[in-house]
């Protein structure tokens, strides 16, 4: 973990959670941790510029918004094609995440994509479309059967215990 002051840890604890129910939320946070509103906003903006904060905004609940067909698709891509296939797959608007991971014994899949679709059939046909376009024919669609947990990471816990 990067070096943080106690004040910075308090700020992270506030903004990793839901914004206060206040028309001046940054002032409310500032009062809570003993900073000025300007200091709070400046630090958030600095962390955004540094890429420590990827974005600051609303997180929506997809299942409530018509993405019931979300699926993970694992692709078996020959080593020389990984870069090309990874970039090509990232170009689809319905693919939200694309990672390269190592293969494991009995599990030859090295590229992982999250496909967002309205239902499982649509997810299947989108995966077929990607397979046809990229020439990567060996893949596994892993449909979501149940969401066990979905929450934002708590980097700094209340009790200050290590994660």
């Amino acid at each position: 973990m990067i070096e943080l002051t106690e004040k910075e840890r308090e700020l992270i604890r506030c903004i990793q959670a839901d914004l206060p129910d206040d028309k001046r939320p940054f002032l409310a946070i500032a009062k809570k941790i003993g900073w000025t509103e300007d200091e709070v906003m400046a630090r958030i903006i600095k962390w955004m510029e540094q890429g420590i904060i990827k974005r600051f905004g609303a997180l929506v609940r997809h299942q409530n918004l018509g993405f019931e067909g979300n699926a993970m698709v694992a692709w078996s891509v020959p080593e020389p094609d990984v870069e090309r296939a990874g970039r090509q797959m990232s170009g689809y608007p319905f693919i939200s995440h694309c990672y390269e991971r190592e293969i494991r014994p009995g599990w030859p899949y090295n590229i992982y994509t999250m496909i967002h679709a309205a239902n499982p059939d649509e997810a299947r046909s989108l995966a077929q479309e990607v397979a046809k376009d990229t020439g990567i024919k060996d893949f596994q669609i892993l449909h979501t059967v149940k969401e066990w947990k979905k929450k934002s990471m708590e980097y700094i816990l209340e009790e200050d215990q290590d994660v």
């Binding site: 992270i12 990827k54 409530n64 991971r101 190592e102 892993l142």
Partner: protein, 148 residues
């Protein structure tokens, strides 16, 4: 949810204004009143369509280590194992999928050694046939806002 709600959600997913009066700023963008924007967002939060407004940190940027874990379970034990996984700190996204590797979750923590130890430990649980620790070698894309 009407078209105005959708416009507001799409706007504030990636661009919630970091300004003293963010709701007034959003209202200005759409030619609405602060009160109307405030009430609409309040309703969307209450209904759970917006689950949180805040910062999305880059784990690696904060110096955290994160991996994807896949667990092959005894089908009779899947639920028990899933509940136990859910109770571990650092588990954020956890899904059951239609595969012999039935449980897939992300595990994030302050250092790699601890994460690897946790994965080895889960591998010894009753009902766990196999476990794969799959950290990303390369991230091609992470897109977290969805136009609705």
């Amino acid at each position: 949810m009407d078209d105005i709600d959708k416009k507001i959600i799409n706007h504030i997913q990636s661009r919630f204004p970091v300004q003293p009066e963010p709701y007034r700023a959003i209202a200005g963008h759409f030619g609405m009143t602060e009160e109307e924007v405030w009430l609409r967002i309040k309703r969307l939060r209450k209904r759970g369509l917006i689950r949180r407004i805040g910062a999305v940190f880059d784990s690696a940027g904060l110096g955290f280590y994160s991996t994807l874990v896949a667990v092959k379970t005894d089908p009779a034990m899947t639920e028990k194992v899933a509940e136990k996984i859910n109770s571990l700190p650092g588990v954020t996204h956890h899904y059951q999928r239609d595969n012999a590797y039935s449980l897939w979750f992300t595990l994030t923590g302050a250092d790699r050694e601890k994460i690897d130890d946790t994965v080895l430990d889960i591998g010894k649980w009753a009902g766990v046939f196999d476990i794969m620790n799959l950290p990303a070698n390369k991230t091609f894309k992470i897109k977290v806002d969805f136009q609705i």
